[in-house]
């Protein structure tokens, strides 16, 4: 139990913009005519399709899976016919397309037959397997497959389980709405997690700008008490919801360099993930929907919808009343601080989509033209939650001195955007860091490839040399054997001249035959 809360370095107090999307309660989104399900929605390998084009699939049916250790299966979000498996634009900062399974929804929303099993009779390993089969990933935004994460947590002796209901980014209210509506499912999911991971204590962290959610969770916890579980209300500060920062606030510990939370006995899960776990284990329901906030200053009716995965963003925007000013709108998936701009509204909602923002271009300095120079004011250093020196990272990233950027811990940057938001010169710092990280990763890949090519080349040289040596050795042995044969006593002439020796041998044989014939 935390006796007191700690603070992390830096952070920003941002305008929440939360009330707009909380005005009406949670709404259920209607089914779109077509669902587009990307075959890869998280880190790891692509899922391989299990059904062919033209097959009819039911809601909840597994349509793609992978055998790699870090994976989460993909399920049909509604019943319909698989009309294509092709490249479609997906939610990615590059705006590129990727392989998706497209389902033409038939409107019947027929589900696979229910196969509910009493979860209390399941062993921890069974529960983990079901979570993997249900395709559950972290719903806080990083979308890391939950089953491998929990397996790793089980192996590492988790001391404290942290349930993340913080939701620190402006505009996003999906977790707030989830806690208000499904608090009891959150608690059930939490209970299952406790059974799987067996922590010493559990902390449910919620920011203090969500009093209704706190109340709902308290009521749920009273109705279904859990052992050693406490709801902790933390002060509102961006980015308290980041895993490393939340760990520091709740426990005062820091995750050491190059290590993960497991290594210091901590495991974090989002409240949305808890609900998905509860649904999967209670009723066998796979992950086929999630709550998405639609907000921004350019949308007519902001709110929260429970959406089927694969719904195109355009459909969701229509439910939200469309754009207020159609002329220039900018679509963002995620929050304003860490989200990314979408190439268009055909992009589908995926497991990681927590929010869609429609913003007016004029409120966002998105044209990367001229920016002022860094005046070394140090405001960025004051707000960095990772205690980095963003200024130094900027200078080195700009000079393409990537080794020096790494020395200043470029890869510890969580890309929260606090530094860019306070810079008086309005330098797009996060973009410089992202570009530097991309370049470093690409260079590492190229170096790996060239090292392999060198190894193959050198091996080939060795192989050819060995072959040459073996050939020469063989020839040498043959010559020696030949010479040995010639040394048989068949006359002095034979010793010097092999031809003569051969002729001499033939003569002898003839003589021998002649001698034999009577």
């Amino acid at each position: 139990m935390p006796s007191r809360l700690h603070r992390f370095h830096g952070g920003l107090h941002l305008d929440g913009h939360k009330q707009e999307s909380l005005a009406r309660g949670l709404e259920q989104a209607t089914l779109p005519p077509q669902l587009v399900l990307p075959l890869r929605q998280h880190i790891g390998d692509y899922n391989k399709p299990l059904v062919e084009v033209g097959t009819r699939v039911l809601k909840g049916e597994t349509i793609a899976s992978s055998s790699s250790p870090i994976c989460a299966a993909l399920h049909a979000s509604s019943s319909g016919i698989v009309s294509a498996i092709e490249n479609r634009p997906i939610a990615h900062p590059s705006g590129q397309s990727d392989l998706c399974m497209v389902i033409d929804v038939d409107g019947k929303d027929e589900a696979t037959p229910a196969q509910a099993v009493d979860p209390h009779r399941l062993s921890a390993d069974d529960m983990l397997r079901r979570i993997g089969d249900a395709g559950i990933v972290g719903l806080g935004g990083a979308a890391f497959p939950t089953a491998p994460k929990l397996r790793r947590g089980r192996g590492n002796n988790v001391d404290t389980l942290i349930i993340n209901g913080v939701e620190c980014e402006p505009y996003i209210t999906c977790d707030d709405m989830l806690m208000r509506e499904y608090a009891d499912e959150v608690v059930r999911g939490c209970g299952f997690l406790q059974r799987m991971v067996d922590p010493r204590a559990t902390l449910i962290a919620i920011e203090d700008n969500k009093p209704e959610a706190v109340e709902a969770m308290k009521r749920a916890l009273t109705a279904q008490p859990l052992a050693a579980t406490e709801i902790v209300v933390i002060p509102t500060l961006y980015p308290s919801g980041g895993e490393k920062q939340l760990i520091q606030v709740l426990t005062g510990k820091e995750v050491p360099h190059g290590q993960l939370a497991f290594d210091i006995g901590l495991l974090c899960q989002n409240v949305g993930t808890c609900v998905a776990i509860a649904r999967a284990l209670d009723s066998g329901e796979p992950l086929i929907s999630r709550i998405v906030t639609v907000s921004g200053d350019n949308v007519a009716r902001p709110g929260n919808w429970e959406v089927r995965l694969g719904t195109p963003v355009a459909h969701l925007l229509e439910l939200a009343g469309g754009y207020r000013h159609r002329d220039e709108s900018y679509l963002i998936m995620g929050g304003p601080m860490m989200g990314f701009a979408l190439s268009g509204d055909r992009v589908p909602i995926v497991k990681a989509s927590n929010c869609i923002l429609a913003m007016r271009e004029e409120t966002i300095p998105h044209t990367p033209g001229y920016h002022d120079e860094c005046i070394r004011c140090g405001k960025c250093t004051e707000v960095c939650p990772a205690s980095l020196l963003p200024q130094q990272l900027y200078w080195h990233a700009r000079a393409r001195a990537y080794d020096r950027s790494r020395d200043f811990h470029l890869f510890d940057c969580i890309e929260c955007g606090c530094c860019s938001a306070v810079c008086p010169s309005r330098i797009p710092l996060v973009q410089y860091y992202r570009a530097a990280k991309s370049e470093i990763r690409a260079a590492q890949k190229a170096q790996f490839k060239s090292d392999r090519a060198r190894a193959r080349f050198e091996f080939r040289e060795k192989r050819l040399l060995l072959k040459k040596q073996q050939d020469e050795e063989r020839k040498r042995l043959k010559r020696e054997a030949l010479q040995k044969k010639r040394k048989l006593p068949t006359g002095e002439a034979a010793a010097s001249d092999p031809v003569q020796a051969a002729l001499a041998r033939v003569k002898e044989r003839k003589k021998a035959v002649q001698d034999e014939t009577p």
Binding site: H92, P93, S94, Q96, D98, P368, G369, Y370, H371, A397, R398, R400, I427, P428, Q431, Y432, R434, A435, A436, K437, S438, E439, A442, A443, A446, K449, S450, D451, R452, A453, R454, R456, F457, F459, R460
Partner: protein, 186 residues
Amino acid sequence: MLLAIITISLMAGFFGLVLGYASIRFRVEGNPIVDQIDSLLPQTQCGQCTYAGCRPYAEAIANGEAPINRCPPGGQTTIVALADLLDTEVLELNEELGEHLEVPLVAVIDEQTCIGCTLCIQACPVDAILGAARHMHTVIADECTGCKLCVPPCPVDCIDMVPERRTIDDWKWSPPIQAGSSDHAV
């Protein structure tokens, strides 16, 4: 004056002995700079630099025979890295030897036309072609360095050089553009 001459001569002799001893005692086999240069080269083994592979080119650079701008597959990035290592000036790529391609090429064998003669297998410097006599040949795309040495030996001209397949994982963020700045892409 005589004392000064004797003193300086003795000092020269002493330091000469020290240096001589050091050159024998601390001798390093081979030239480590060649290894360092070689590790910066892309290992395409294509011969576009007019040397018989990456290592001979690295040795030529170490000897001072070759300038650092003769590697088209490495491009300007390699030239900058070499200049940094050797503390010399950055040069522009010698375009006469070939152009630097942003997306490298890989070889693809047209299986309909391949006759299984193994000439390309013998030509590939990194053994990236799989096959045997009178059996189908195929290029292992991940290991192909795009050196094009397999193309001339093929008697039926069935090898094409195509750009490497780029996936969404290869996408890179671009640094912010600054209009009117003195930044230019290296």
